[in-house]
Symmetry: C2
Subunit: 320 residues, 2 copies
Protein backbone atom coordinates (compact mmCIF):
# COMPACT_ATOMS: atom_id res chain seq x y z
CA UNK A 1 0.00 0.00 0.00
CA UNK A 2 1.02 3.59 -0.57
CA UNK A 3 0.75 5.75 2.56
CA UNK A 4 0.98 9.52 2.75
CA UNK A 5 2.20 10.67 6.16
CA UNK A 6 1.75 14.36 7.00
CA UNK A 7 4.26 15.51 9.58
CA UNK A 8 6.57 12.73 8.38
CA UNK A 9 9.69 14.50 9.66
CA UNK A 10 8.21 14.86 13.12
CA UNK A 11 8.46 12.68 16.21
CA UNK A 12 5.58 10.27 15.62
CA UNK A 13 5.48 10.67 11.83
CA UNK A 14 9.09 9.65 11.27
CA UNK A 15 8.77 6.61 13.52
CA UNK A 16 5.61 5.63 11.65
CA UNK A 17 7.33 6.10 8.28
CA UNK A 18 10.13 3.75 9.35
CA UNK A 19 7.60 1.16 10.48
CA UNK A 20 5.49 1.33 7.33
CA UNK A 21 8.61 0.91 5.18
CA UNK A 22 9.74 -2.05 7.29
CA UNK A 23 6.34 -3.62 6.65
CA UNK A 24 6.94 -3.34 2.90
CA UNK A 25 4.74 -0.31 2.18
CA UNK A 26 5.45 2.78 0.12
CA UNK A 27 5.62 6.09 1.99
CA UNK A 28 5.15 9.66 0.81
CA UNK A 29 6.34 11.94 3.58
CA UNK A 30 4.90 15.45 3.67
CA UNK A 31 6.35 18.05 6.01
CA UNK A 32 6.87 21.81 6.13
CA UNK A 33 9.83 21.39 8.52
CA UNK A 34 8.43 23.96 10.94
CA UNK A 35 9.32 21.53 13.72
CA UNK A 36 10.29 18.44 11.71
CA UNK A 37 13.93 17.32 11.41
CA UNK A 38 15.63 16.00 8.32
CA UNK A 39 17.70 13.70 10.55
CA UNK A 40 14.53 11.91 11.67
CA UNK A 41 13.85 10.93 8.07
CA UNK A 42 17.34 9.73 7.21
CA UNK A 43 16.54 6.08 7.81
CA UNK A 44 13.28 6.27 5.86
CA UNK A 45 14.84 8.13 2.96
CA UNK A 46 17.49 5.42 2.66
CA UNK A 47 14.66 3.27 1.28
CA UNK A 48 13.78 3.49 -2.41
CA UNK A 49 10.15 3.24 -1.34
CA UNK A 50 10.11 6.57 0.47
CA UNK A 51 9.86 10.04 -0.95
CA UNK A 52 9.73 13.33 0.89
CA UNK A 53 7.73 16.38 -0.11
CA UNK A 54 8.72 19.58 1.61
CA UNK A 55 5.59 21.71 1.57
CA UNK A 56 3.00 23.25 3.83
CA UNK A 57 -0.52 21.84 4.21
CA UNK A 58 -1.84 25.29 3.34
CA UNK A 59 -0.35 24.78 -0.14
CA UNK A 60 -3.35 23.01 -1.63
CA UNK A 61 -1.74 22.47 -5.00
CA UNK A 62 1.29 20.67 -3.59
CA UNK A 63 -0.95 18.69 -1.27
CA UNK A 64 -3.30 17.55 -4.00
CA UNK A 65 -0.36 16.55 -6.17
CA UNK A 66 1.14 14.54 -3.30
CA UNK A 67 -2.08 12.52 -2.94
CA UNK A 68 -1.84 10.97 -6.40
CA UNK A 69 -2.12 7.20 -6.13
CA UNK A 70 -2.18 7.23 -2.33
CA UNK A 71 -4.21 4.49 -0.59
CA UNK A 72 -4.17 5.76 2.96
CA UNK A 73 -3.33 9.06 4.68
CA UNK A 74 -1.89 9.32 8.18
CA UNK A 75 -2.57 12.95 9.01
CA UNK A 76 -0.21 13.64 11.90
CA UNK A 77 1.06 17.14 11.07
CA UNK A 78 -0.10 19.75 13.57
CA UNK A 79 0.87 22.61 15.73
CA UNK A 80 1.22 20.36 18.76
CA UNK A 81 1.90 23.07 21.30
CA UNK A 82 -0.91 23.45 23.84
CA UNK A 83 0.95 25.80 26.13
CA UNK A 84 1.41 28.71 23.74
CA UNK A 85 -2.14 28.48 22.34
CA UNK A 86 -3.38 31.82 23.65
CA UNK A 87 -0.47 33.54 21.87
CA UNK A 88 -0.66 31.66 18.57
CA UNK A 89 -4.36 31.44 17.90
CA UNK A 90 -4.02 31.84 14.14
CA UNK A 91 -1.51 28.98 14.02
CA UNK A 92 -3.91 26.50 15.65
CA UNK A 93 -6.70 27.58 13.30
CA UNK A 94 -4.50 27.31 10.20
CA UNK A 95 -2.20 24.40 10.93
CA UNK A 96 -4.74 22.18 12.68
CA UNK A 97 -8.26 23.04 11.48
CA UNK A 98 -7.80 24.53 8.00
CA UNK A 99 -4.90 22.16 7.25
CA UNK A 100 -7.15 19.19 8.04
CA UNK A 101 -9.83 20.62 5.76
CA UNK A 102 -7.18 20.84 3.04
CA UNK A 103 -6.13 17.24 3.63
CA UNK A 104 -9.75 16.08 3.33
CA UNK A 105 -10.30 18.12 0.17
CA UNK A 106 -7.13 16.80 -1.43
CA UNK A 107 -8.17 13.25 -0.52
CA UNK A 108 -11.61 13.87 -1.99
CA UNK A 109 -10.15 15.22 -5.24
CA UNK A 110 -7.85 12.22 -5.53
CA UNK A 111 -10.39 9.65 -4.33
CA UNK A 112 -8.17 8.51 -1.46
CA UNK A 113 -10.49 6.22 0.53
CA UNK A 114 -9.01 5.97 4.03
CA UNK A 115 -7.28 8.11 6.62
CA UNK A 116 -6.14 8.21 10.22
CA UNK A 117 -5.91 11.35 12.33
CA UNK A 118 -3.89 12.15 15.44
CA UNK A 119 -6.37 13.83 17.72
CA UNK A 120 -5.81 14.33 21.41
CA UNK A 121 -7.14 13.69 24.87
CA UNK A 122 -7.18 17.49 25.11
CA UNK A 123 -10.55 17.45 23.30
CA UNK A 124 -12.03 16.23 26.62
CA UNK A 125 -11.10 19.55 28.26
CA UNK A 126 -11.45 18.98 32.00
CA UNK A 127 -13.77 15.95 32.09
CA UNK A 128 -15.78 14.72 35.07
CA UNK A 129 -15.34 11.02 34.29
CA UNK A 130 -12.04 9.12 34.84
CA UNK A 131 -10.78 7.15 33.11
CA UNK A 132 -12.45 9.14 30.33
CA UNK A 133 -14.15 7.04 27.63
CA UNK A 134 -14.71 8.15 24.02
CA UNK A 135 -18.43 8.62 24.72
CA UNK A 136 -18.04 10.71 27.88
CA UNK A 137 -20.38 13.70 28.35
CA UNK A 138 -20.12 16.38 25.63
CA UNK A 139 -16.97 18.24 26.70
CA UNK A 140 -16.14 21.93 26.89
CA UNK A 141 -12.88 23.00 25.27
CA UNK A 142 -10.26 24.56 27.52
CA UNK A 143 -7.41 25.09 25.03
CA UNK A 144 -6.95 26.45 21.54
CA UNK A 145 -5.14 23.22 20.69
CA UNK A 146 -8.04 21.05 21.84
CA UNK A 147 -10.52 23.31 20.04
CA UNK A 148 -8.59 23.13 16.77
CA UNK A 149 -8.32 19.33 17.00
CA UNK A 150 -12.01 18.94 17.83
CA UNK A 151 -12.84 21.10 14.80
CA UNK A 152 -10.66 18.79 12.69
CA UNK A 153 -12.38 15.69 14.12
CA UNK A 154 -15.77 17.22 13.29
CA UNK A 155 -14.72 17.88 9.69
CA UNK A 156 -13.49 14.30 9.29
CA UNK A 157 -16.78 12.99 10.66
CA UNK A 158 -18.82 15.12 8.23
CA UNK A 159 -16.74 13.89 5.27
CA UNK A 160 -17.26 10.29 6.42
CA UNK A 161 -21.02 10.83 6.55
CA UNK A 162 -21.24 12.55 3.17
CA UNK A 163 -18.67 10.65 1.14
CA UNK A 164 -17.06 7.27 0.77
CA UNK A 165 -14.36 7.95 3.34
CA UNK A 166 -13.21 5.61 6.10
CA UNK A 167 -11.50 7.34 9.01
CA UNK A 168 -9.70 6.46 12.24
CA UNK A 169 -9.54 9.19 14.84
CA UNK A 170 -7.02 8.52 17.60
CA UNK A 171 -7.18 10.59 20.76
CA UNK A 172 -3.64 10.40 22.10
CA UNK A 173 -2.30 11.04 25.54
CA UNK A 174 1.20 12.61 25.39
CA UNK A 175 3.59 10.40 23.44
CA UNK A 176 7.17 9.67 24.57
CA UNK A 177 10.16 7.82 23.11
CA UNK A 178 12.86 8.08 20.46
CA UNK A 179 12.79 11.39 18.51
CA UNK A 180 10.68 13.06 21.15
CA UNK A 181 11.51 16.73 20.74
CA UNK A 182 8.85 18.73 22.53
CA UNK A 183 7.25 18.61 25.99
CA UNK A 184 8.02 18.34 29.66
CA UNK A 185 10.81 15.71 29.53
CA UNK A 186 12.89 17.81 27.16
CA UNK A 187 12.13 20.98 29.16
CA UNK A 188 13.31 19.33 32.38
CA UNK A 189 16.33 17.70 30.72
CA UNK A 190 17.45 21.00 29.21
CA UNK A 191 17.04 22.83 32.52
CA UNK A 192 19.04 20.17 34.35
CA UNK A 193 21.84 20.30 31.80
CA UNK A 194 22.14 24.04 32.32
CA UNK A 195 21.49 24.15 36.08
CA UNK A 196 21.77 20.67 37.66
CA UNK A 197 20.98 22.04 41.13
CA UNK A 198 17.52 23.50 40.43
CA UNK A 199 14.46 22.51 38.44
CA UNK A 200 11.50 24.79 37.83
CA UNK A 201 8.20 22.95 37.36
CA UNK A 202 5.07 24.69 36.06
CA UNK A 203 2.03 24.21 38.31
CA UNK A 204 2.11 22.48 41.68
CA UNK A 205 3.62 19.25 40.31
CA UNK A 206 0.48 17.35 41.30
CA UNK A 207 -1.04 17.47 37.80
CA UNK A 208 -1.94 13.88 36.89
CA UNK A 209 -0.85 13.02 33.37
CA UNK A 210 -0.80 10.05 31.04
CA UNK A 211 1.90 9.08 28.57
CA UNK A 212 2.38 6.38 25.96
CA UNK A 213 5.54 5.04 24.31
CA UNK A 214 5.70 5.91 20.61
CA UNK A 215 6.10 2.32 19.37
CA UNK A 216 3.09 1.25 21.45
CA UNK A 217 1.16 4.12 19.87
CA UNK A 218 2.14 2.98 16.38
CA UNK A 219 1.26 -0.65 17.19
CA UNK A 220 -2.22 0.48 18.26
CA UNK A 221 -2.84 2.59 15.16
CA UNK A 222 -1.71 -0.11 12.75
CA UNK A 223 -3.79 -2.74 14.53
CA UNK A 224 -6.88 -0.51 14.45
CA UNK A 225 -6.69 0.27 10.75
CA UNK A 226 -6.38 -3.45 9.98
CA UNK A 227 -9.11 -4.57 12.37
CA UNK A 228 -12.16 -2.36 12.08
CA UNK A 229 -14.19 -2.04 8.91
CA UNK A 230 -16.54 0.75 10.11
CA UNK A 231 -16.58 4.04 8.24
CA UNK A 232 -15.74 6.03 11.35
CA UNK A 233 -13.66 4.75 14.24
CA UNK A 234 -12.68 6.75 17.32
CA UNK A 235 -10.12 5.37 19.76
CA UNK A 236 -8.47 6.68 22.89
CA UNK A 237 -4.80 5.73 23.02
CA UNK A 238 -3.01 5.57 26.35
CA UNK A 239 -1.89 3.25 29.10
CA UNK A 240 -4.07 2.09 31.99
CA UNK A 241 -2.23 4.36 34.39
CA UNK A 242 -1.29 7.95 35.07
CA UNK A 243 1.43 9.67 37.05
CA UNK A 244 1.93 13.01 38.74
CA UNK A 245 4.30 15.51 37.16
CA UNK A 246 6.45 15.15 40.29
CA UNK A 247 6.68 11.37 39.70
CA UNK A 248 8.10 12.08 36.29
CA UNK A 249 10.49 14.63 37.78
CA UNK A 250 11.68 11.95 40.23
CA UNK A 251 12.30 9.33 37.51
CA UNK A 252 14.17 11.80 35.31
CA UNK A 253 16.38 13.03 38.17
CA UNK A 254 17.07 9.50 39.41
CA UNK A 255 18.07 8.40 35.90
CA UNK A 256 20.40 11.40 35.59
CA UNK A 257 21.80 10.90 39.13
CA UNK A 258 20.75 14.41 40.10
CA UNK A 259 19.01 15.77 43.21
CA UNK A 260 17.98 19.29 42.23
CA UNK A 261 15.86 21.59 44.33
CA UNK A 262 12.43 21.38 42.69
CA UNK A 263 10.72 24.78 42.53
CA UNK A 264 7.01 24.63 41.73
CA UNK A 265 5.30 27.51 39.94
CA UNK A 266 2.14 26.68 41.86
CA UNK A 267 -1.48 26.26 40.87
CA UNK A 268 -3.38 23.23 39.65
CA UNK A 269 -2.54 23.98 36.03
CA UNK A 270 0.86 24.59 34.47
CA UNK A 271 -0.56 27.05 31.94
CA UNK A 272 -3.87 28.23 30.49
CA UNK A 273 -5.54 25.19 28.95
CA UNK A 274 -3.39 22.70 30.89
CA UNK A 275 -5.58 19.86 32.06
CA UNK A 276 -4.90 18.96 35.70
CA UNK A 277 -5.89 15.32 35.12
CA UNK A 278 -5.64 13.29 31.91
CA UNK A 279 -6.48 9.61 32.13
CA UNK A 280 -8.19 7.94 29.17
CA UNK A 281 -10.32 4.81 29.15
CA UNK A 282 -8.69 2.64 26.49
CA UNK A 283 -11.08 -0.31 26.70
CA UNK A 284 -12.09 0.11 23.06
CA UNK A 285 -8.59 -0.21 21.55
CA UNK A 286 -7.68 -2.97 24.05
CA UNK A 287 -10.71 -4.95 22.85
CA UNK A 288 -8.87 -5.32 19.52
CA UNK A 289 -6.07 -7.15 21.33
CA UNK A 290 -3.64 -4.28 21.83
CA UNK A 291 -1.63 -3.89 25.03
CA UNK A 292 1.11 -1.33 25.55
CA UNK A 293 4.48 -2.96 26.21
CA UNK A 294 5.92 -0.11 28.23
CA UNK A 295 4.79 1.60 31.43
CA UNK A 296 4.80 5.38 31.79
CA UNK A 297 7.96 5.18 33.89
CA UNK A 298 9.73 3.07 31.26
CA UNK A 299 8.64 5.47 28.52
CA UNK A 300 10.00 8.43 30.49
CA UNK A 301 13.34 6.67 31.01
CA UNK A 302 13.59 5.65 27.34
CA UNK A 303 12.98 9.28 26.41
CA UNK A 304 15.73 10.53 28.72
CA UNK A 305 18.05 7.89 27.24
CA UNK A 306 17.24 9.17 23.77
CA UNK A 307 17.88 12.79 24.79
CA UNK A 308 21.20 11.89 26.44
CA UNK A 309 22.33 10.19 23.24
CA UNK A 310 21.00 12.97 20.98
CA UNK A 311 21.75 16.29 22.58
CA UNK A 312 21.63 17.95 19.18
CA UNK A 313 17.84 17.75 19.54
CA UNK A 314 18.04 20.58 22.06
CA UNK A 315 19.00 22.92 19.24
CA UNK A 316 16.25 24.62 17.25
CA UNK A 317 15.19 22.70 14.12
CA UNK A 318 17.82 23.22 11.43
CA UNK A 319 15.21 23.89 8.72
CA UNK A 320 17.48 21.64 6.64
CA UNK B 1 -25.92 48.99 26.02
CA UNK B 2 -24.43 48.86 22.55
CA UNK B 3 -25.02 45.53 20.79
CA UNK B 4 -23.38 44.34 17.59
CA UNK B 5 -25.58 41.85 15.77
CA UNK B 6 -23.95 39.82 12.99
CA UNK B 7 -26.46 38.63 10.44
CA UNK B 8 -28.64 41.61 11.42
CA UNK B 9 -30.49 41.59 8.09
CA UNK B 10 -31.36 37.93 8.47
CA UNK B 11 -34.43 36.22 9.91
CA UNK B 12 -33.46 36.00 13.58
CA UNK B 13 -30.99 38.90 13.51
CA UNK B 14 -33.48 41.47 12.28
CA UNK B 15 -36.11 40.40 14.80
CA UNK B 16 -33.48 40.64 17.53
CA UNK B 17 -32.38 44.09 16.35
CA UNK B 18 -35.97 45.34 16.56
CA UNK B 19 -36.31 43.94 20.07
CA UNK B 20 -33.05 45.41 21.33
CA UNK B 21 -33.99 48.84 19.98
CA UNK B 22 -37.42 48.58 21.61
CA UNK B 23 -35.66 47.89 24.90
CA UNK B 24 -33.71 51.12 24.51
CA UNK B 25 -30.38 49.70 23.39
CA UNK B 26 -28.08 50.80 20.59
CA UNK B 27 -27.63 48.34 17.71
CA UNK B 28 -24.86 47.98 15.16
CA UNK B 29 -26.08 45.61 12.44
CA UNK B 30 -23.45 43.74 10.44
CA UNK B 31 -24.46 41.78 7.37
CA UNK B 32 -22.97 40.81 4.01
CA UNK B 33 -26.46 40.50 2.46
CA UNK B 34 -25.70 37.04 1.08
CA UNK B 35 -29.11 35.97 2.37
CA UNK B 36 -30.10 39.03 4.44
CA UNK B 37 -32.80 41.42 3.24
CA UNK B 38 -32.74 45.19 3.47
CA UNK B 39 -36.51 45.12 4.00
CA UNK B 40 -36.05 43.16 7.25
CA UNK B 41 -34.01 46.05 8.64
CA UNK B 42 -36.32 48.88 7.63
CA UNK B 43 -38.02 49.08 11.02
CA UNK B 44 -34.68 48.95 12.87
CA UNK B 45 -33.06 51.55 10.63
CA UNK B 46 -35.93 53.94 11.28
CA UNK B 47 -34.41 54.29 14.76
CA UNK B 48 -31.60 56.80 15.30
CA UNK B 49 -30.01 54.16 17.57
CA UNK B 50 -29.39 51.66 14.79
CA UNK B 51 -26.65 51.63 12.21
CA UNK B 52 -25.99 49.08 9.50
CA UNK B 53 -22.60 47.95 8.26
CA UNK B 54 -22.64 46.08 4.99
CA UNK B 55 -19.54 43.89 5.10
CA UNK B 56 -18.43 40.28 5.23
CA UNK B 57 -17.12 38.66 8.40
CA UNK B 58 -14.04 37.65 6.43
CA UNK B 59 -13.20 41.37 6.17
CA UNK B 60 -11.30 41.60 9.43
CA UNK B 61 -10.64 45.32 9.13
CA UNK B 62 -14.31 46.24 8.72
CA UNK B 63 -15.22 43.84 11.52
CA UNK B 64 -12.68 45.22 13.96
CA UNK B 65 -13.81 48.77 13.18
CA UNK B 66 -17.43 47.79 13.76
CA UNK B 67 -16.61 46.51 17.26
CA UNK B 68 -15.50 49.91 18.56
CA UNK B 69 -17.38 50.70 21.77
CA UNK B 70 -19.54 47.59 21.57
CA UNK B 71 -20.62 46.00 24.88
CA UNK B 72 -22.10 42.75 23.63
CA UNK B 73 -21.98 40.78 20.36
CA UNK B 74 -24.82 38.59 19.13
CA UNK B 75 -23.05 36.46 16.53
CA UNK B 76 -25.91 35.08 14.44
CA UNK B 77 -24.47 35.33 10.91
CA UNK B 78 -23.89 31.93 9.32
CA UNK B 79 -24.33 29.79 6.32
CA UNK B 80 -27.44 28.17 7.76
CA UNK B 81 -28.01 25.65 5.02
CA UNK B 82 -27.50 22.07 6.21
CA UNK B 83 -28.84 20.42 3.11
CA UNK B 84 -26.30 21.70 0.61
CA UNK B 85 -23.34 21.14 2.95
CA UNK B 86 -21.61 18.44 0.89
CA UNK B 87 -21.59 20.82 -2.10
CA UNK B 88 -20.48 23.96 -0.28
CA UNK B 89 -17.86 22.73 2.08
CA UNK B 90 -15.68 25.81 1.80
CA UNK B 91 -18.64 28.05 2.64
CA UNK B 92 -19.29 26.28 5.96
CA UNK B 93 -15.59 26.46 6.84
CA UNK B 94 -15.32 30.14 5.95
CA UNK B 95 -18.69 31.60 6.94
CA UNK B 96 -19.18 29.59 10.11
CA UNK B 97 -15.82 28.54 11.54
CA UNK B 98 -13.33 31.13 10.26
CA UNK B 99 -15.94 33.91 10.53
CA UNK B 100 -16.44 33.05 14.21
CA UNK B 101 -12.68 33.12 14.74
CA UNK B 102 -12.68 36.58 13.16
CA UNK B 103 -15.51 37.74 15.44
CA UNK B 104 -13.59 36.50 18.49
CA UNK B 105 -10.37 38.16 17.35
CA UNK B 106 -12.13 41.47 16.65
CA UNK B 107 -13.77 41.28 20.09
CA UNK B 108 -10.39 40.56 21.68
CA UNK B 109 -8.76 43.51 19.90
CA UNK B 110 -11.57 45.81 21.01
CA UNK B 111 -11.91 44.35 24.51
CA UNK B 112 -15.59 43.48 23.98
CA UNK B 113 -16.38 41.41 27.08
CA UNK B 114 -19.52 39.39 26.22
CA UNK B 115 -21.08 37.50 23.33
CA UNK B 116 -23.85 35.13 22.38
CA UNK B 117 -23.66 32.58 19.58
CA UNK B 118 -26.36 30.84 17.58
CA UNK B 119 -25.25 27.22 17.56
CA UNK B 120 -27.53 24.37 16.61
CA UNK B 121 -29.01 21.08 17.70
CA UNK B 122 -27.21 19.72 14.64
CA UNK B 123 -24.03 19.52 16.75
CA UNK B 124 -25.63 16.46 18.41
CA UNK B 125 -25.52 14.59 15.08
CA UNK B 126 -27.76 11.56 15.56
CA UNK B 127 -27.85 11.23 19.35
CA UNK B 128 -28.91 8.18 21.38
CA UNK B 129 -30.59 10.18 24.15
CA UNK B 130 -33.97 11.95 23.71
CA UNK B 131 -34.76 14.59 24.67
CA UNK B 132 -31.07 15.40 24.19
CA UNK B 133 -29.46 17.37 27.04
CA UNK B 134 -26.46 19.69 26.67
CA UNK B 135 -24.23 17.12 28.43
CA UNK B 136 -25.30 14.11 26.32
CA UNK B 137 -22.58 11.64 25.24
CA UNK B 138 -19.82 13.17 23.07
CA UNK B 139 -21.53 13.32 19.66
CA UNK B 140 -20.32 12.45 16.18
CA UNK B 141 -20.92 15.07 13.48
CA UNK B 142 -23.12 14.08 10.57
CA UNK B 143 -23.24 17.36 8.63
CA UNK B 144 -20.81 20.02 7.45
CA UNK B 145 -23.09 22.60 9.05
CA UNK B 146 -22.99 20.87 12.45
CA UNK B 147 -19.23 20.40 12.15
CA UNK B 148 -18.65 24.07 11.36
CA UNK B 149 -20.85 25.17 14.27
CA UNK B 150 -19.17 22.77 16.69
CA UNK B 151 -15.80 24.16 15.60
CA UNK B 152 -17.12 27.66 16.32
CA UNK B 153 -18.39 26.58 19.75
CA UNK B 154 -14.98 25.08 20.53
CA UNK B 155 -13.23 28.33 19.60
CA UNK B 156 -15.57 30.38 21.79
CA UNK B 157 -14.92 28.00 24.70
CA UNK B 158 -11.14 28.30 24.28
CA UNK B 159 -11.34 32.12 24.24
CA UNK B 160 -13.48 32.03 27.40
CA UNK B 161 -10.89 29.87 29.15
CA UNK B 162 -7.91 31.96 28.07
CA UNK B 163 -9.32 35.47 28.21
CA UNK B 164 -11.81 37.61 30.05
CA UNK B 165 -14.71 36.67 27.77
CA UNK B 166 -18.23 35.72 28.84
CA UNK B 167 -20.15 33.71 26.28
CA UNK B 168 -23.63 32.26 25.78
CA UNK B 169 -23.88 29.40 23.32
CA UNK B 170 -27.45 28.63 22.24
CA UNK B 171 -28.14 25.35 20.47
CA UNK B 172 -31.28 26.09 18.49
CA UNK B 173 -33.83 23.79 16.99
CA UNK B 174 -35.18 25.19 13.69
CA UNK B 175 -36.69 28.63 14.20
CA UNK B 176 -39.98 29.72 12.63
CA UNK B 177 -41.97 32.97 12.47
CA UNK B 178 -42.01 36.37 10.82
CA UNK B 179 -39.17 36.95 8.30
CA UNK B 180 -38.51 33.20 8.05
CA UNK B 181 -36.98 32.86 4.61
CA UNK B 182 -35.31 29.46 4.43
CA UNK B 183 -36.38 25.90 5.24
CA UNK B 184 -39.14 23.38 4.82
CA UNK B 185 -42.15 25.69 5.34
CA UNK B 186 -41.04 28.01 2.55
CA UNK B 187 -40.15 25.04 0.32
CA UNK B 188 -43.60 23.53 0.80
CA UNK B 189 -45.38 26.88 0.43
CA UNK B 190 -43.56 27.66 -2.81
CA UNK B 191 -44.31 24.21 -4.24
CA UNK B 192 -48.00 24.54 -3.36
CA UNK B 193 -48.22 27.98 -4.95
CA UNK B 194 -46.83 26.58 -8.19
CA UNK B 195 -48.57 23.16 -8.12
CA UNK B 196 -51.40 23.07 -5.54
CA UNK B 197 -52.22 19.46 -6.38
CA UNK B 198 -48.91 17.83 -5.51
CA UNK B 199 -46.28 18.22 -2.80
CA UNK B 200 -42.90 16.54 -2.89
CA UNK B 201 -41.44 15.82 0.56
CA UNK B 202 -37.80 14.79 1.06
CA UNK B 203 -37.42 11.60 3.07
CA UNK B 204 -40.31 9.43 4.26
CA UNK B 205 -42.11 12.26 6.07
CA UNK B 206 -41.61 10.47 9.39
CA UNK B 207 -38.55 12.52 10.38
CA UNK B 208 -39.23 13.88 13.84
CA UNK B 209 -38.31 17.56 14.11
CA UNK B 210 -38.48 20.38 16.63
CA UNK B 211 -39.26 24.03 15.96
CA UNK B 212 -39.39 27.20 18.02
CA UNK B 213 -41.10 30.52 17.36
CA UNK B 214 -38.63 33.35 16.77
CA UNK B 215 -39.95 35.66 19.51
CA UNK B 216 -39.78 32.78 22.00
CA UNK B 217 -36.19 32.22 20.90
CA UNK B 218 -35.35 35.89 21.46
CA UNK B 219 -37.07 35.89 24.87
CA UNK B 220 -34.91 32.95 25.91
CA UNK B 221 -31.66 34.50 24.73
CA UNK B 222 -32.32 37.84 26.41
CA UNK B 223 -33.34 36.14 29.64
CA UNK B 224 -30.21 33.99 29.64
CA UNK B 225 -27.77 36.84 29.10
CA UNK B 226 -29.38 38.75 31.99
CA UNK B 227 -29.58 35.78 34.35
CA UNK B 228 -26.37 33.82 34.37
CA UNK B 229 -23.06 35.29 35.47
CA UNK B 230 -20.86 32.28 34.53
CA UNK B 231 -18.11 32.79 31.97
CA UNK B 232 -19.46 30.09 29.68
CA UNK B 233 -23.11 29.17 29.35
CA UNK B 234 -24.54 26.56 26.99
CA UNK B 235 -28.29 26.28 26.48
CA UNK B 236 -30.51 24.17 24.27
CA UNK B 237 -33.41 26.21 22.89
CA UNK B 238 -36.57 24.43 21.79
CA UNK B 239 -40.06 23.47 22.87
CA UNK B 240 -40.93 20.41 24.94
CA UNK B 241 -42.38 18.68 21.88
CA UNK B 242 -41.57 17.49 18.38
CA UNK B 243 -43.59 16.74 15.28
CA UNK B 244 -43.24 14.60 12.20
CA UNK B 245 -42.57 16.29 8.87
CA UNK B 246 -45.95 14.96 7.74
CA UNK B 247 -47.64 16.70 10.70
CA UNK B 248 -46.19 19.96 9.49
CA UNK B 249 -47.31 19.16 5.94
CA UNK B 250 -50.84 18.60 7.27
CA UNK B 251 -50.96 21.90 9.19
CA UNK B 252 -49.65 23.87 6.22
CA UNK B 253 -52.11 22.29 3.77
CA UNK B 254 -55.03 22.71 6.17
CA UNK B 255 -54.19 26.38 6.66
CA UNK B 256 -53.98 26.88 2.88
CA UNK B 257 -57.17 24.88 2.28
CA UNK B 258 -55.32 22.48 0.00
CA UNK B 259 -55.34 18.70 -0.27
CA UNK B 260 -52.36 17.90 -2.45
CA UNK B 261 -51.07 14.43 -3.20
CA UNK B 262 -48.03 14.11 -0.95
CA UNK B 263 -45.13 12.35 -2.68
CA UNK B 264 -42.38 11.20 -0.34
CA UNK B 265 -38.81 10.91 -1.58
CA UNK B 266 -38.33 8.03 0.83
CA UNK B 267 -35.65 7.15 3.32
CA UNK B 268 -35.25 8.08 6.97
CA UNK B 269 -33.28 11.19 6.08
CA UNK B 270 -34.25 14.00 3.68
CA UNK B 271 -30.63 14.60 2.66
CA UNK B 272 -27.10 13.75 3.72
CA UNK B 273 -26.65 15.10 7.24
CA UNK B 274 -30.40 15.35 7.89
CA UNK B 275 -31.10 14.16 11.41
CA UNK B 276 -34.13 11.82 11.55
CA UNK B 277 -34.95 12.92 15.10
CA UNK B 278 -34.27 16.26 16.77
CA UNK B 279 -35.70 16.79 20.24
CA UNK B 280 -33.73 18.83 22.75
CA UNK B 281 -33.92 18.73 26.52
CA UNK B 282 -34.50 22.38 27.48
CA UNK B 283 -34.56 21.91 31.25
CA UNK B 284 -31.58 24.21 31.68
CA UNK B 285 -33.11 27.29 30.01
CA UNK B 286 -36.52 26.56 31.56
CA UNK B 287 -34.88 26.62 35.00
CA UNK B 288 -34.31 30.35 34.43
CA UNK B 289 -38.06 30.83 34.16
CA UNK B 290 -38.48 30.80 30.38
CA UNK B 291 -41.44 29.07 28.74
CA UNK B 292 -42.20 29.25 25.03
CA UNK B 293 -45.56 30.91 24.35
CA UNK B 294 -46.23 29.11 21.07
CA UNK B 295 -46.52 25.43 20.17
CA UNK B 296 -44.84 23.99 17.08
CA UNK B 297 -48.18 23.93 15.30
CA UNK B 298 -48.83 27.60 16.12
CA UNK B 299 -45.34 28.53 14.95
CA UNK B 300 -45.87 26.73 11.65
CA UNK B 301 -49.19 28.51 11.10
CA UNK B 302 -47.71 31.92 11.99
CA UNK B 303 -44.97 31.25 9.46
CA UNK B 304 -47.44 30.37 6.71
CA UNK B 305 -49.37 33.55 7.58
CA UNK B 306 -46.20 35.56 7.19
CA UNK B 307 -45.39 33.95 3.85
CA UNK B 308 -48.91 34.55 2.54
CA UNK B 309 -48.62 38.24 3.42
CA UNK B 310 -45.07 38.53 2.08
CA UNK B 311 -44.83 36.60 -1.14
CA UNK B 312 -41.91 38.80 -2.23
CA UNK B 313 -39.80 36.67 0.14
CA UNK B 314 -39.98 33.87 -2.42
CA UNK B 315 -37.78 35.90 -4.72
CA UNK B 316 -34.03 35.62 -4.38
CA UNK B 317 -32.48 38.21 -2.04
CA UNK B 318 -32.29 41.52 -3.86
CA UNK B 319 -28.77 42.25 -2.71
CA UNK B 320 -30.14 45.74 -2.15
Amino acid sequence: MKFLVTGAAGFIGSNLADRLLALGHEVVGYDNFSTGRKAFMESALASPHCQLIRADLLDREALSKAMAGVDFVFHLAANADVRYGPNQRRKDLEQNTIATWNVLEAMHENKVPRMAFSSTGSVYGEPDVFPTPEHCPFPVQTSFYGASKLAAEALIQAYCEAFDLHAYIFRFVSILGERYSHGHVIDFYQQLLEHPAALRVLGNGKQRKSYLYVQDCIDAMLLAIESTPEKLNIFNLGTNEYCEVDDSVGWICQHLNLEPEVIHGGGERGWVGDSPFIFLDCTRIRALGWTPRFTIREAVVLTVEFLKANRWILQAPDAA
